[in-house]
Symmetry: D2
Subunit: 300 residues, 4 copies
């Protein structure tokens, strides 16, 4: 062990990861959470909330492209996009690449996350907060969504729900029903959906099963985000729009029009991430639990 | 941190994983390496060689099915299968499911790995050492392959090469040339090929690039093996046989004939694992280094 | 880091120790606590309760000799000795070396600690449970002491009090008053008293200050117990008997009569452990907090 | 585990310590070693060389007072003091408190340690580098001592010898012979002498035994330095001067004259640190190894 300074993250009761720590860029406590920006030998600069790795300079493009583009490409005219969470700006950065988008509303509870990101995480937001289409609202996302209407794409980019934590009520059937009402007729919801690792799969499968109670089309997909220490699940849901019907041609045509281009997502990546391993599909089929307001899901 | 006993694995200079440790089933030192069989809270029973997780009870099926079946299905008549490494028996267990196979030769340097596996890792080998088709040879795999001929499928299931370690010369162009000569005309080689994580991709891309110097058809693929703490690369190589031309129909027909069935691999999984993310493909295209006997590759 | 299996103990919010782990001799959960017997590369066999190192094969003689002999030597005729805690038998082992002792009562809440020690910790108890003078009572020590009388030496050998834990009420002024009533006129109480490290001294100084409310003679002393990762405090208290008045001659005479001899304690050691560094004495003088039933002390 | 950033120090092959890490004040590599100044939750600011804790803001006074004052008090007129190592200035700070001292020569190999300490470790040096009596020489201490004469007190304040490291030849019989020649007739040498923990005692006992080959009076002593994770040994050696003959009266008179006063050392502390536990004395008596240039000692 050559290094003596380490960032340790316990990801479940029984396992975790460690990373050599070369710099503590920022460390503080907001009214909502502990916020750290650190630099590691493995992943460069990292954003850490309450001790959990949120994203890293080296591989955040995987997470954020996977979260944003399938829905944005699938939407015919994504004019109005709402991001729940995502205060560090990277999700908005990806959304803003789509020229059709007129309005990007970031709803994040924690003003300090946005402020600290503006100061320390330029690699994440790339100046998107100055984009005239972007609006930041500091409010509980659920409350905001209750009165929202006409959203074309809603991106749920929240940390894991924990008992007593602010995201607990943002993964329930009732929340998804509110989200559906906020969407336009052709609207699409996409949510990050926790680990899809074989031994730690049930949060993912429950989110999928819960979304199926609310939306006719529900498509889970997974990608590798190395700094998450695990394969990671996402779910796209809608009334009608189905990402499995996207053709390589139309998908690539849309992507080629994006300024700057993408590093992770294209038509082959799309096929790879929607083609789930057999054991994941089996676990999804076998899931029967529904997450509700009265029985919410607390990760770890 | 509720637990006080941990297994720590440093996977690169800058990162690693920890797992709660509930039992030390076996711990000893062979002439070649430190061998441990432990039980963790995250992955159940695990085989650890020289401090590196080799496979775990919970997710070894992912690794071993991914390693074995694409080649075995692709081969028209896989009569003679050679496994370099794989002394714990799980690779042979998967190979043995294919009825066409007449001969399974396991070439492992370390007799103690086989003996300890027989005693402690029944979940891995499932009795395959008693299969009349299986033969175990305790020898350096490269030397054995030099004089082998007519191999239909060669499975390279070795630990990572380290400077001074026994696997160092089993990932070079010269080794792959010897392997090609050992293969039958329609023969297929498949090798595990290290991490395919975005920040740690170069071993994988060099193995692929080196194989391209020797074989006309070279197909990299990746899967998630959570206990490896990273997405993992594999490469299939041959003179003619191409896994991208396998149809879902023929693939599933072959798999349905296997006794016991599979948990990971089927036609949708196949599509997923051969559809690489854009950044992986780009890194593969950009690779120009060839691994040779005079300039071998030492991982980590 | 050559070893991959470790025992980690967090000793305060901000620090802890790790030890290479070579064997898990026993691991289980009693009605009162998690009990582990492990073997480490640094300290050999260790007893661990609720994740806290209790004593190790290599240095338990320091702790147990320091805990027992100053009081036993000081007592003119230690006929009746009560041990609160100490279920693993090592304290009783040291007490039993004194021929004058007629009765050794071990009061430990947790029957399983005694049973597991009998099975796995012979190095600790050395068969003392078979000594006819020894009696083991499975009861709350405070309750037992309420009705005890005529105790010549009372040895408080308990784990650290934690909120909600069983030892919480065994470090209070009210407890010490009960203990005083249980003692004979010439009786002596001795208690382990937590870390005496400079940055972590307040539990020790509060115990001393609390005992001063109850006993006329209160003598703190400290020793090095390496496996505790810290210098360690003890306190001897009595109505009259004062260890500072022991002469080297009488002390050594008493010790020479003990069968087997001692490895840690003799007259020079005695001088060393009762001669406290200046900063410890200053902290003791400055302490004003009293631990009471209504305001008990929770370590860590 | 509330904290996620940790400083880990492996102190032997089998054990180590961890500390929560709140700030990386400085991190760099000099021609001789890795130098870090960090802030921990347990010990405040810490100086770390090659991953080894050298001293901490919270308890460096224990180490430096113990290292310096017994010799300085014992010396009748400590005019000329040579410090081997000690580039961070705290040893010189303690020496400078003695008014009789006319000359303080710090011989440290590593210019960067001194520069970084001037910038970041004011708590250590307290401006002593501006004291007109202080001279800093950047040279190998052994070479410097070869031509030194008339030193009244020589303080060996070096990191542990490691094979290939710069301190390897500064703990040998030949070095001590050179040191004796550099001392005045009444001169005194004192050296830090590694851990005195029961399971890790042999470096300490060998240094003592080696010094006995060269000096008629050799007095080992030990103190608790919590951040060293172990009790710590020192040795005072001379031709005639004996610290065991210091009376409390004369010792305290000398100390009272020091400006600022001391926090650790006084006559009672003196008695405590020269009164060694029985097992330490026994290990010292049994030691027969001599450290020589041809057979130097490599710690850990």
């Amino acid at each position: 062990m050559l290094h003596s300074r380490w960032f340790l993250e316990q990801t479940t009761e029984h396992e975790g990861a460690f990373h050599s720590l070369s710099e503590i860029v920022y460390s503080g406590i907001s009214p909502y959470q502990r916020i750290e920006v650190i630099r590691t030998g493995s992943y460069g600069k990292c954003l850490v909330l309450d001790g959990k790795m949120q994203s890293s300079e080296v591989d955040e493009f995987i997470y954020h492209e996977a979260l944003v583009h399938p829905s944005l490409v699938l939407s015919d005219s994504p004019r109005r996009v709402l991001i729940a969470g995502g205060g560090e700006g990277a999700t908005a950065r990806e959304v803003a690449k789509h020229q059709a988008v007129r309005e990007i509303i970031i709803v994040d509870l924690d003003r300090e996350v946005v402020e600290i990101s503006k100061r320390h995480l330029h690699e994440w937001h790339r100046g998107v907060f100055d984009d005239a289409r972007v609006q930041v609202v500091f409010e509980d996302a659920r409350r905001y969504i209750e009165t929202s209407r006409g959203v074309d794409v809603m991106v749920i980019d929240l940390p894991e729900p924990t008992s007593g934590g602010p995201a607990l009520m943002l993964y329930t059937r009732e929340f998804y029903s509110l989200a559906r009402e906020a969407l336009s007729e052709e609207g699409i919801l996409v949510t990050q959906a926790a680990s899809s690792a074989v031994h730690n799969l049930r949060v993912f499968t429950r989110i999928v099963h819960t979304l199926k109670q609310v939306f006719p089309v529900v498509r889970p997909y997974t990608v590798n985000v190395p700094s998450f220490f695990s394969p990671w699940g996402f779910v796209l849901a809608s009334r009608r729009k189905d990402p499995l019907q996207l053709t390589a041609g139309s998908l690539n045509r849309t992507l080629e029009a994006l300024p700057g281009g993408l590093a992770f997502y294209d038509s082959e990546t799309h096929v790879g991430m929607f083609s789930l391993p057999k054991y994941v599909r089996k676990a999804l089929e076998g899931e029967e639990s529904i997450i509700t307001d009265s029985s919410p899901l607390s990760f770890y």
